[in-house]
């Protein structure tokens, strides 16, 4: 009885303190993100992006778009990239050994011819087969590279070797971009006078059920299926709240590989993308930050709260599970590679705040939740009075829901992408349903990710590409 009660007490108080800490952090994030977003919206109102779009002094950008078996939508996607509002631009599409007609479609649609191109192998990659350009002057910004399969990181590195411009924008080729996306993403590089901006990221939104025509976003709709819908909520929380808050502290660790801009010099100095990890986007940002810290130069990683890039979210539990599993493994690999920074004052905010946060509250959270839940079941089974345990779980539950509702509020107050009242209502309902139908699954996938990495599974896990043609058929519903 003595020992049991002690264990029980220690356990409860540990769990409680974790929960209280989490709550404090969420609140702080809430405040920081409001301040940062408000500041951004205000500053943004003074910007006439047209000036940047046509200025010869605008930073030169190379878009790197790795493509693997994207035949269904590649022509439209590349077209929308080529019509981005930006002058000093080259669009490099890297065909990563596709087994379908991706390359054939590109060659035919864009009138491509083989080019004698000297590839400067600054970063070691899988060999490049052919480099193509277009006969048509309207498509002069396009370069297509055919290479042997090597994975996303390897393809990006090929793109880096080929690019001639100063800034890189990595993008998932099936993402739908706003026309001004590139301008908004690159402007932070020009605004700082004291620090060097090494990377910028933008907000990702979920494109499922939106109307797409010719690779372009025509109408924004809330996803109809449950899983993409709940991920919409998740993305709002992550991007609008969490990442904006971290930007204020200059502690942002992750810029999504789906859309981010990087200073090419620094990327090359760091050695390019890491081929050994599945979380290559996060790992690069952490490595770049670490590089700047070690060089002792003032720097900043910027983040734009404007929705710039729309991406497809997994709609089946199977694909979702694969994705979350991969994210967990990526996080583990990155944290492990850079473990030297843990509570290391030499790395300032990066080592003392960002890294520990990611370790304890992003990586460990699913594990602690699972342990807590299993312990709860165990205590129920044993028959120990567990009301405080139960109440702790309830309060964590309500904190979670509160946080989601706060995120929805922020979204309504700022960008208000989902204008219809019934959509906001749907989001609120999803906030209630999430802890029961979504969150446990995500936690389970994360746990599985931990086991998998112990077993060293290294595949990307292909997400079956549904393609936008499936969504295009829906456009008739909206009278287009």
């Amino acid at each position: 009885m003595n020992l049991q009660a002690t264990i029980f007490d220690v356990f409860s108080y540990a769990l409680l303190s974790y929960a209280v800490l989490l709550l404090t952090i969420y609140t702080l994030i809430g405040f920081f993100s409001i301040a940062e977003t408000r500041a951004y919206v205000r500053k943004n109102s003074f910007t006439d992006y047209r000036v940047l779009a046509s200025s010869p002094d605008a930073p030169s950008v190379s878009i790197l778009a790795p493509a693997f078996n994207e035949g269904a939508t590649i022509i439209d996607n590349v077209r929308s990239l080529l019509s981005l509002n930006y002058i000093n631009l080259e669009v490099i599409v890297i065909n990563d050994g596709s087994t379908d007609d991706t390359l054939a479609k590109l060659i035919s649609a864009y009138d491509l011819y083989e080019l004698d191109f000297f590839v400067n192998h600054q970063i070691i990659t899988q060999p490049v087969k052919v480099v193509y350009k277009s006969h048509n002057p309207v498509y002069k910004k396009l370069i297509v590279v055919d290479k042997f399969k090597g994975g996303k990181a390897d393809s990006l590195n090929v793109g880096i070797n080929i690019s001639k411009n100063d800034y890189l924008v990595s993008i998932d080729v099936d993402c739908v971009l706003e026309q001004d996306a590139l301008l908004k993403l690159c402007k932070p590089f020009l605004e700082q006078t004291e620090k060097r901006v090494i990377a910028t990221g933008g907000v990702l939104r979920i494109v499922n059920s939106c109307d797409i025509e010719g690779g372009r976003l025509v109408k924004i709709n809330l996803p109809e299926e449950f899983l993409p819908r709940v991920q919409t909520l998740e993305y709002i929380r992550a991007f609008l709240l969490s990442r904006m808050a971290w930007t204020r502290l200059n502690g942002l660790l992750l810029i999504s590989g789906a859309f981010g801009a990087f200073d090419k010099d620094i990327v090359i100095s760091c050695g390019g993308y890491n081929n050994e990890t599945v979380g290559e986007d996060m790992e690069l940002v952490v490595r770049m930050r670490r590089f700047m810290e070690e060089k002792k130069e003032p720097y900043k990683v910027a983040f734009i709260p404007d929705p710039l890039c729309w991406t497809e979210a997994p709609a089946t539990y199977k694909n979702l599970g694969r994705q979350r599993n991969r994210w967990t493994r990526g996080t583990i690999e990155t944290l492990y590679t850079h473990r030297k920074m843990f509570f290391n004052p030499k790395y300032h905010v990066l080592g003392m705040v960002s890294y520990p946060y990611w370790l304890f509250f992003e990586y460990l959270a699913p594990i602690i939740e699972t342990v807590g839940f299993l312990a709860f079941l165990l205590f129920c089974f044993i028959g120990v009075v567990t009301w405080s345990c139960f109440f702790i779980m309830m309060s964590i539950f309500s904190v979670g829901v509160l946080y989601s509702i706060f995120a929805i509020l922020m979204e309504v107050l700022t960008y208000n992408q989902y204008k219809q009242k019934k959509d906001v209502l749907r989001l609120l309902l999803v906030a209630m349903a999430e802890p029961i139908f979504f969150h446990p699954f995500v936690v389970a996938s994360a746990i599985k990710g931990n086991f998998d990495i112990l077993r060293k599974r290294k595949s990307w896990g292909e997400m079956t590409r549904r393609g936008f043609t499936h969504l295009d058929k829906n456009k008739n519903k909206y009278g287009n």
Binding site: K43, F46, D57, F118, E191, S398, F406
Partner: protein, 366 residues
């Protein structure tokens, strides 16, 4: 002690209490936020309807001003402004109207633009803007300056000069653009006294503004020696854009400036402003700086170099750095037959050069 059942019960009751309280607080907070959201959306809904009406009124009046072909009678001004004048006390309408007016003014020039300016005066909108200049908030001040600039309120240009060195960068930015718009190149005199750095973005904005004005002769030599490095960089860009050939020797001194950004910009500048000696100076400093500067020098030599420089370029063909190799090859290939001959004759142990030559040939043919 801990094992005492009474104690356990007591602590449980206490924890029940606090936790129960906590849950109560949370539920209340949730309800509060939900209620707030509901009200906000309802309010926004009614707002939108008004907005449409306001937009209609503004649009009509603005179009009338744009296409008003007759002489404007100073007594009556532009007709049809009664409704707008009445609504002007409404902050929302005023904001919307001003935005639409400014948006139109940005796209329209000539007589029509003058009419829009007249309309702005007639509706006394500049008084509201001037009031905002005294605000404590930076964004209000900056917005007001921007408005006055876009509506071309030249009469107020002297009032705005003081803001060019304001502690807030956005106020500074707007004021700098304003004085350039109103005073042309003369307005750049704020560069003499500015203590803050001018960001790259701000430089782009200023250059854009200047490009819309007829070119004028200004003395930038003072700025090229400024202690403020961003001013030096900006002055170099001005020299480049406006062909300040007489500045050549001063620009040469910038090649030795302590700031790498200045040195880089000076190299770019000399690619356009040069004489017979320039390439010698560039080549003599080639090995002092990093690859980025070296590549810039090669690009400059491509423009300004002559035969005597080809020999130097051909020495780079043996360099380990592929970027240098490629760019040197490119420069040689495009400098004429003799340069191209040097390129193909070069004995390259590292066969990479052949690939480079093929690519460069392809580029020239295209």
């Amino acid at each position: 002690m801990i094992s005492s059942p009474l104690f356990v019960l007591a602590s449980l009751v206490v924890s029940l209490h606090t936790l129960g309280l906590v849950i109560l607080i949370f539920t209340n907070l949730i309800l509060l936020i939900l209620a707030f959201m509901l009200f906000f959306m309802l309010w926004k809904g009614t707002h939108e309807k008004n907005h449409d009406r306001y937009r209609l009124i503004s649009g009509l009046l603005i179009r009338r001003a744009v296409f008003y072909d007759d002489q404007i009678d100073p007594e009556t001004g532009i007709p049809g402004t009664k409704k707008a004048t009445r609504l002007m006390v409404n902050k929302v309408f005023r904001k919307l109207f001003t935005e639409e007016l400014i948006s139109a003014k940005k796209n329209i020039a000539g007589m029509a633009a003058e009419n829009l300016k007249y309309l702005y005066h007639q509706l006394k909108l500049e008084s509201f803007a001037l009031k905002k200049l005294n605000s404590a908030h930076w964004h209000t001040k900056a917005k007001a300056i921007q408005e006055l600039t876009l509506m071309d309120m030249r009469e107020l240009k002297d009032d705005l000069f003081v803001y060019t060195n304001d502690k807030n960068e956005y106020v500074r930015m707007e004021a700098q653009v304003a004085v350039v718009q109103f005073n042309g190149f003369e307005g750049l005199r704020f560069l003499d006294s500015i203590t803050y750095a001018i960001s790259e973005w701000q430089q782009i904005k200023l250059l854009h503004k200047l490009s819309n004005l007829p070119p004028a002769h200004i003395d930038i030599s003072g700025w090229l020696k400024s202690p403020n490095t961003s001013v030096v960089v900006f002055a170099l860009k001005l020299a480049r854009n406006y062909h300040g050939f007489e500045m050549h020797d001063v620009i040469l001194t910038c090649l030795d400036h302590p700031d790498p950004q200045v040195r880089l910009q000076a190299i770019h500048c000399l690619g356009e402003i040069y004489n017979d000696e320039t390439s010698v100076h560039l080549i003599s400093r080639f090995w002092r700086d990093d690859v980025r500067h070296q590549l810039a020098i090669i690009k400059a030599l491509q423009n300004i170099g002559s035969e005597k420089d080809n020999i130097f370029l051909s020495t780079l063909l043996g360099n380990d750095d592929y970027d240098l190799k490629l760019n040197a090859a490119r420069a040689l290939a495009s400098s004429g037959l003799k340069g191209f001959a040097l390129l193909v004759e070069y004995n390259d142990a590292d066969l990479v050069l052949n690939d480079i030559i093929t690519q460069v040939r392809g580029e020239l043919a295209a």
